[in-house]
Structures are given as C-alpha cells and as structure tokens.
C-alpha cells in the first residue's frame, strides 16, 4: 500500500526535523517548484513532496477521470498519503489549486493537520454576479487552446524518442525542464477542473489555522480573490508580499520563506 502510494504520487521525503511539512504544487507544475523553499525548513521539519496524480512523475495510469473530476479526488489522495506515512499535525503548504485541495482534505480530516499555508489561493476563478474571480469561460477555452498548441507530444516522433530512450535520461530531463505535460488530455482535464471549479462554500467549513500568502501583483489570483479566501476562512491570517507573479515561492523565495517562518514561529 505504502509502496503503491509512493509510486502513484512520486512521494519524496527529506529533512531531519520531527514535524511534518507537506508541500503540494499547483496547476502546470510539479514538486520541483519547492526547490528554493525546502532548504530553509530541512532542519526543523520532515519535508514531504508529492506530484499530484497526472502531474510530474506521478503514475499517469492512476489518473481516473472520474475521481479527478473534482478536487475531492486529490484531497482523498492527500489523506491517503498522510495515513500511509503516518503523518500527524501536518503543516500543509499548497500553491494555487492545492490550497483548495488542502482545504478539502483539512475539512474531511481536521485532526491530521495543524496549519494550512495557502500560496496564491483562489476559491473560484470564473466571475459571476457578485464575485470577481478574474476569468470567464472563454478565457479557460483559450487556455486549453494554448495547452494544445504547446503540447510537445504533437510530434509523435518526439514522444517516441523520449519513450524509447530510457538510457538517455537527458531527453526526459529536457522534457521535464520544458514542463511539457506528457499527457495532453490529462493536462486539459486538470485545467478544466481547476479553473472551472467553485470552492467558495467550502472555505467556511475550514476550522484549522490558515495563512494566505498573496503576491501583490498576481494575474491568476488577485488580491481581491485572496482576501475573499481570508475573509471566509475563520482562523486565517493574510500577508501580502511585494512581489509580481503567481509563483512567489519561485520568483521571491526569500520573502516567501520569511512569511512562512513568521507564521510558523
């Protein structure tokens, strides 16, 4: 079971601390995202990194379109991983969509988690009557088109070169570096689930302590969207970083680490 979960979610563990910190990447990335963050927590924490099923080096065969047609499917995986690794009092760090995945997991099993750190969260990307998420259905369609046109696998030659050259890992590395989703259908499905979802009503059910880390200029999750999360999560703090972009943990790791440490102190 443990082995199965480790393979399924490409679980890696590092660090020498006693407390557990589980970091989960957002849409379009994998656990490499945490490269500049993890060194700062290695001493105090046992750090668990995963790839969501369908992303990174997870087992794409485990991608069940039905299960992952809502974020609940991913939240169940998080709970399975915590149980399998026997993690307790977990500090969950979720970027973007994984902030919501963590929220759902913590609603289901509050006892597993101690703190929830959300980086660039959004409970709803699509605008509606009284809410500005920032996007419309048309924008998501455009995203899907962009995904399609940037899918490296469009050339079957490229795909077969990579598949058939396990002895040439640099090809796979190249692919990894280019962040090409090796399965276009999964990338599109995950994009739809992520950007068309609505988790606003879940925020109020979250009881554990949470921190929202908001990038000052974020085209994906604006300050208003972040504040909405903060206002609806009962025990939450909110911090704005003087950064641009949706991935402050990549573009401004020092500020991000500082905010996390301040909160965890």
């Amino acid at each position: 079971m443990l082995e199965h979960i480790i393979r399924k979610n490409n679980v890696t563990v590092q660090g020498t601390g006693n407390r557990a910190m589980l970091l989960v990447h957002g849409y379009g990335c994998d656990q490499n995202m945490w490269r500049y963050i993890t060194p700062h927590f290695k001493k105090q924490y046992k750090i668990i990194l995963i790839d969501l099923v369908g992303s990174g080096k997870s087992d794409t065969n485990a991608y069940d379109y039905n299960k992952y047609s809502s974020l609940e499917g991913y939240a169940d995986d998080i709970i399975d991983i915590c149980d399998a690794l026997n993690l307790k009092n977990v500090c969950f760090v979720g970027h973007s969509v994984s902030a919501m995945i963590g929220t759902l997991a913590a609603i289901k099993r509050p006892s597993l988690f101690e703190k929830l750190i959300m980086i660039g969260p959004s409970a709803r990307y699509i605008n509606d009557a009284n809410y500005t998420g920032g996007f419309s259905q048309k924008d998501i369609d455009e995203l899907l088109e962009t995904l399609e046109s940037n899918y490296l696998g469009w050339s079957s030659e490229m795909a077969s070169v990579i598949m058939n050259n396990p002895e040439r890992p640099e090809l796979a590395l190249e692919l990894e570096a280019s962040f090409c989703q090796n399965n276009l259908e999964i990338a599109k499905h995950f994009a739809s689930v992520t950007f068309l979802g609505d988790n606003r009503s879940d925020l109020k059910k979250l009881t554990i302590d949470a921190l929202i880390i908001q990038s000052k200029i974020d085209a994906i999750a604006s300050i208003e969207v972040g504040k909405f999360v903060h206002e609806n999560v009962q025990n939450s703090s909110f911090i704005t970083l003087e950064t641009t972009g949706h991935c402050p943990h990549l573009s401004a790791p020092d500020e991000t680490v500082k905010a996390m440490k301040q909160y965890l102190r």
């Binding site: 379009g28 990335c29 973007s96 995904l147 280019s178 641009t244 990549l250």
Partner: protein, 396 residues
C-alpha cells in the same frame, strides 16, 4: 573585406522581435521589429508594458502556471506558442524563446526574449490539425463500418451453421426414414407371409381340431402384428412431432410410474430395482419421451435378465454444465458389442433368441432422445450386464 559590425544596429534591424524585461515583467528595451509586430511606439512600451500585457487572459494563465515556473527552474524556455495582442486588439501567433540573464552571484537581472511571428505557419498547422481530425473521424467511421461488417459476417456464419445443422438433421431423418421403410416392410412381411401360409393350411385342412389350432395361431400372429404396427406408428409419431413441449419432470415420479406399469414382470422375475436421482432430480423435457425411454429401458433389462441369477437393475442421474446423464444398468445377459454394436439401435434388430424380442424398443428410444438433441450410448459385456448412458441437454 572587413566590416565594422554595429551590434546595436544589428539588434535593431534583426528580422525577429527582441525585448528585454525585468524579473517583474516590465519591458526595459526592445528592437524595432518587436515594436512593429505589436504596433506600439517605443514610448508606449519601454518602462510601461509587461510581457503579459500582450497576452489574453487564457494566455496569462499559461504564462503564470507553466511558462514562468519553467523559466525560473531551468533558466531558459523555447518554442512557446502564445497569441500576442496588437495595439488595435487583433491577435497574431508567435513563438517565444526566453533566457534569464544573471549576475555572478546568480541573481536574476533581466530576461531576454526573442519573438517570431508564425502567422503563416500557424494557418498551415491549423489546416493540418483539421485534416488530422477529419482523418481521425473517417478512421473512426471506417472502423465502425468494419465492426458492422464483422457483425454481419458473424450473423451469416451463424445462419450457415444453423443451416448445416438443419441439413444434418434432415439427413439423419432421411436415414432413419429409409431404415424405417426397409424394416417396416421387412417386419410386416414376415407375419403377413406367415398369415398367408396359415390361411393356405387352414383352407387345405379339413380336420376341425387342426383348423381350430391353426386359427389360434392366426390370432396370435394378428396380435403380434397389431402390436408391431402400433409401435411403428408410435415411432413415426415421435419423429413427426415438431413442436415438442418441454415439461418440468421429476425423475423419481416418472420412474415410480414405470415400476407400476411393469410391476407384474418385476414381481415375476423377483428383480431388485433401485434408483438414485439425487444428483439431478429434475429436467425440463417432454414427459411422454422420458416415460417411454424409462419404460423401454426397464422392460429391456427385465426381459433380458440372466436366468441363473437375480436381476439387479439400477437407474441414476448425474449432471455437468450443460447436460444431465441418465444411466440404466443391469446385470443381465449383455450384448456382444463387437458383433452387434453397429446395429444395436437399428430397427428390428434383436440380439437374443428371446421369445419377446421385437427389435423396436431401442430404435424408438434412440429416436426419442435424438429428436431433442440428446444422445445414447451403451456399454455391455456378455453375461455380465448392460449399461445405457443417455445424455440429455439441460433445457432452461
């Protein structure tokens, strides 16, 4: 020849777009070609616009979630396709290559990007994609037509098999009928010529006592003839009956009825008649047939018992997936299968010099069993006994 290359001029007149942006995305320099591509003036762009300002919202999501992290993690990205928005709001497709420029300490100073207009190529790409989709559709259609053809072929081969079975059935019937015709004529000719002879004797004889004796013989032959005729008629009925009704039958009940019919013979012979139908107590089958089959088998076993030992007769059933087997075994006279095996189920074949042998029973039994897709076979040893095994198809 030496040329003094002015790199600034080269940068400016290069046939693709270049721009340089700060880590926060703000564009701090660009060449002419880039400005021409997006139809903005230098003043409108430099220090004012960010990379993402030329992207639609959908493109921005991709930029933030895929492009920017990839650039951050590997320091370079290549061949990313975006749609850029011109000043007038129109869009055109580009390929972007970007590289992070860092100082000695690894601090990210700015990003250099090259932009290639791929409008023509993109049109062609889209045509290819449409053609590919059409080809896929066609391929799907073909494969569904193929599936249908396969199904039809299967149907035809099924029908062919049914016809073959039917043909076999007809051939079988034909064989039976011709055998029947042959035997019937033969079977009837013997008693009829017997009668003719008796008639002549009767006419020629003047002694009253002799006449009476001859008439008694005529009566016996007539009875016998009548019985044979009835049995032949019965067997014709069986084979002519097409709509056979399948009843739910309990073997035990039919067997009890059979014993009652033959009670006189059982008592006379002191035979020990036993049964065990627990393995397969029931079957759906034409009741008349089962009754007739059991009656024939039991009366055969009684008739051909060994005179010097007590007859033991046992009926039982067994079952597997699709079939039920009815077994009737005895310790009677037995049949020399080497001599008679090939004609044991033929009409008018008798294997014992026995006064009651008429040679109709087993033929009828076989006909009844085969009429509904069963089979019968026999194991026997002379003076040891005989076992009949009847395979009956389970009918649901």
């Amino acid at each position: 020849m030496h040329l003094n290359i002015d790199y600034k001029e080269l940068y400016n007149t290069s046939p693709s777009g270049y721009f340089c942006s700060l880590p926060n995305g703000t564009i701090i320099d660009s060449n002419k070609n880039f400005l021409e591509l997006i139809s903005y003036t230098r003043e409108e762009v430099i220090g004012e616009k960010k990379f993402t300002d030329f992207l639609s919202l959908g493109g921005k999501i991709y930029f933030e979630n895929v492009y920017a992290p990839a650039l951050k993690l590997s320091g370079t990205v290549e061949e990313i396709n975006f749609n850029f928005i011109k000043k007038d709001g129109s869009k055109f497709p580009v390929l972007v290559n970007s590289v992070e420029v860092k100082d000695k300490e690894g601090l990210h100073l700015f990003t250099q990007s090259a932009v290639f207009n791929i409008s023509q190529r993109k049109k062609y790409e889209q045509e290819l994609i449409i053609a590919k989709r059409n080809a896929n559709d066609l391929s799907n259609k073909l494969s569904s037509v193929n599936t249908e053809l396969l199904n039809r072929a299967k149907l035809i081969s099924n029908q062919k098999r049914q016809l073959e079975e039917f043909n076999e059935h007809l051939e079988n019937k034909n064989k039976q009928l011709s055998s029947f015709a042959h035997i019937a004529s033969h079977n009837l000719r013997a008693p009829v010529s017997n009668l003719m002879a008796l008639k002549d004797f009767y006419n020629e004889n003047t002694d009253l006592e002799d006449k009476e004796m001859l008439f008694t013989k005529v009566e016996t032959v007539i009875d016998h003839l009548n019985e044979t005729l009835n049995e032949l008629i019965d067997s014709v009925k069986i084979r002519g009956n097409k709509d056979i009704v399948h009843d739910a039958i309990i073997f035990e009940e039919v067997f009890d009825k059979t014993r009652t019919i033959l009670e006189h013979q059982i008592l006379d012979s002191k035979a020990i008649v036993t049964s065990n139908f627990s393995k397969a107590p029931e079957i759906k089958y034409p009741k008349l047939y089962i009754e007739s089959i059991m009656l024939n088998l039991l009366s055969n076993s009684l008739r051909y018992r060994a005179p010097h030992r007590i007859a033991e007769i046992h009926f039982s059933t067994a079952v597997n997936d699709k079939e039920i087997m009815l077994t009737a075994s005895d310790n009677g006279l037995g049949i020399d299968l080497k001599k008679y095996g090939h004609k044991i189920f033929g009409l008018n074949n008798t294997f014992h010099r026995h006064p009651d042998s008429k040679g109709v029973g087993l033929f009828m039994t076989k006909t009844q069993i085969e009429a509904i897709g069963g089979s019968i076979n026999v194991e026997s040893a002379v003076d040891k006994g005989t076992t009949f095994k009847i395979i009956l198809k389970k009918n649901r």
